[in-house]
């Protein structure tokens, strides 16, 4: 292999990792844009996306055609994760932001009923002649009903006494709590043994690989999985940028990110807009989780989101947190820097390089590559 070929191959490798980072980083940057806090649970949404993909292709659609499997897994992962994102926002962040209110009761009732069902339902199943499924459903329904009534009452009382938090720190700590919850619940539900599955090519069960792309003397190895991840990342980001720039929803998101109070005064339903950003960001993270693991067969467990989430967060800061294009640029830069480092003599410092780049960029451009300077209003 000559130098040019190495250069191109490493760039291709880097762009592939970078596009996964990009899909995650976009979620960090969007939430930061509207709420000015880091949603540390975002990396764990990626993990849920990977598990959704895994169960879709191994259990639900085990013997279907690969393209159908892939498409369904992608859609299911995106739907499941966007629901999860919405739920987290409704359960944890909104009560903190607006003060706990009667309208928070449904999400809280559902959340705690899940655990009630798990423990009380399990206890009841052993002592009942009814089918297990029915017992669980009944326990859940009764629990949601009772909790809803109790919590609604409780929250109504509390909402008169409590003021909403203006402290970003408590939101941040809550995000860490949600992240721990997801990781440990993932370990409890799915086990800590790593899972791996791969959508295989139609051609006799062989892996989907383009053997090489040849141009003159240069041979590049590019997997079909890599191309799909990259294409999906570019497509989803393009759709996102379009939405934010040119649609009414996007205008609302930008308005809320500029000044939440003023946006509310102009009649923008800020809570709905915030929920929207969680929905979009989580769907993209779910897509990243499914694509990265199900197309390449890389093993993962419930802690997979920690390291990837951290790197995607760094990518978002590098690109200028709050800027979607910046997050994508930062992510691609980080991916390329990482592969070039691991191909060089400094391979053990591969993960450190990301932070070195971050420090250097922030020294000269404190708002990140594409971030804008926004003076803090006092």
């Amino acid at each position: 292999m000559n130098a040019l070929q190495i250069l191109l191959q490493q760039t291709v490798n880097g762009i592939q990792i970078g596009s996964v980072y990009a899909l995650i980083a976009v979620g960090y940057t969007m939430v930061y844009g509207v709420l000015k806090f880091i949603n540390f649970a975002h990396g764990d949404v990626y993990m849920v996306g990977a598990y959704t993909g895994f169960f879709t292709i191994t259990a639900i659609l085990a013997s279907r055609a690969p393209v159908f499997q892939g498409a369904c897994a992608l859609i299911l992962a995106m739907v499941a994760c966007s629901m999860l994102g919405l739920f987290i926002e409704r359960l944890a962040y909104r009560p903190l932001r607006n003060g706990i209110q009667a309208s928070d009761a449904p999400a809280w009732a559902i959340f705690w009923s899940l655990y009630v069902t798990l423990f009380l339902g399990g206890w009841l199943v052993n002592r009942s002649v009814l089918p297990a499924g029915l017992v669980y459903v009944a326990t859940f329904a009764v629990s949601v009903g009772v909790m809803y009534v109790v919590m609604r009452r409780l929250f109504t009382t509390l909402s008169r006494r409590l003021k909403p938090s203006t402290d970003r720190l408590s939101a941040l700590i809550t995000a860490i709590g949600v992240s721990l919850l997801l990781e440990n619940q993932g370990a409890a539900s799915f086990g800590v043994t790593p899972r791996a599955a791969q959508i295989h090519g139609v051609n006799g069960g062989k892996d989907l690989y383009l053997p090489t792309i040849v141009a003159g003397h240069i041979k590049l190895s590019v997997g079909v999985g890599q191309i799909i991840v990259l294409a999906a990342a570019l497509l989803l980001t393009a759709v996102l940028v379009y939405t934010v720039r040119f649609t009414a929803t996007g205008r609302s998101i930008r308005a809320v990110s500029l000044d939440r109070d003023a946006a509310a005064l102009m009649g923008i339903p800020t809570d709905r807009v915030i929920a929207m950003t969680f929905l979009i960001g989580s769907a993209l993270a779910g897509a990243a989780g499914m694509l990265n693991h199900m197309l390449t067969g890389i093993p993962f467990d419930s802690n997979i989101g920690i390291a990837l989430g951290l790197k995607a967060f760094v990518a978002a800061v590098l690109g200028g947190i709050g800027s979607i294009e910046g997050a994508v640029l930062g992510a691609l830069l980080m991916g390329i820097a990482e592969t070039f480092t691991s191909g060089s003599a400094f391979s053990p410092f591969k993960d450190a390089v990301a932070f070195v780049i971050l420090i250097v960029v922030l020294l000269f451009k404190p708002t990140g590559l594409m971030g804008r300077y926004a003076p803090e209003k006092v």
Partner: protein, 397 residues
Amino acid sequence: MMRLKMWHAPAAVLIATGIVLSGCKSPSNSASQSTGNDIIVGEYGSLTGPQATFGKSTDNAIQLAVEQLNSAGGINGRKVKVVTQDDMSQANNAALAVQNLIDQQHAIAVLGEVASSCSEAGGRVCQEKGIPMISPSSTNPAVTQIGDDIFRVCFIDPFQAAVVARFAHDGLGATRVAVFTNTDQDYSTGFTKNFIAAFTAMGGTIVIQKSYGGSDTDFRGSLTAIAQAKPQAILIPGYYQDVASIAKQARALGITCPLLGGDGWDSPDLIKIGGAALNNCYFSDHLAIDDPTPAVAKFVAAYKAKYGQTPDSLAALGYDSANLLFAAMKAAKSLTPSDIRDAIAATKNFPGITGNITINAQRNADKPAVIIKIVNGQFTKYMSIANPDVPLQPKAS
């Protein structure tokens, strides 16, 4: 008072849930009330986590050995009860598990672990409390260097690495080898160091050396650099899960040379994840399950009958570690930890299924290693190497 920071409630509750749930996953133990007369032996292993298949195989085999012992009358009429703790493949959990086994369960001897990092953590606790420990399959030399209470029934990494070096040099005729190490595992770094020393002493060249970390999932950057160096073989002394991913990505990048490894490869999951990418690759191991000797065949049949699957070599070592401990307990003057320790140290030519085991002065086992070749997804015995210092006869293939 009520007003004070009550809006922290959601945060507090969620964090509490996180803490409670993380605490929930306490090590499991096969709890049944001790009758008081049973001899308690502790076992700690990776029943879950990245090295779970190792831990499960070892645990299965130990349970099999105990069952056979107890149905044959136990030790001097007393039954043995093995209390098992899961360390989730984490060294800090291993230390806690061993502490629990000794302090709460009152184990008089301990079996475990597979991963050297975990055995070291657990071994330090055993040494401190004066309880003998036998590791079935930790190959890092540091494990038994902890002290005179720590033993093992397998060979050690310098030996295994030298065997692989000898095989690469003579068996494959390779003179240019690349090395790809997991810097987060003692096993991997130790193996790498010893392989390089042995291979260069034979006149071979290490063309490139790369490393990865425990949480890495994409290895293309390093592999592209390795491909550029055009090695005749690549040594990947990691565990199956990483190796399977690395093999796939290496093949995708057009690397066709054989990959080499050690006993960390031995898992059915290697093939399940890696598939065809691992064909015609080689690794050193403690035993070949397809070995037609009567002892191996008998063990394989009993294991299959109980668990419905073929044992791997880690199961064989788990079985040997338990049986060697039971033999030592029978031979010991009394069932105190120090007498058991002395009896284990005095073991000579114990007929294990992984070969005859003699515990040497460094408390390690002396015995040959086997080279396994992966042919169409099957582990097949390729050759046996007893002394890596002697050049191999060229094998007609």
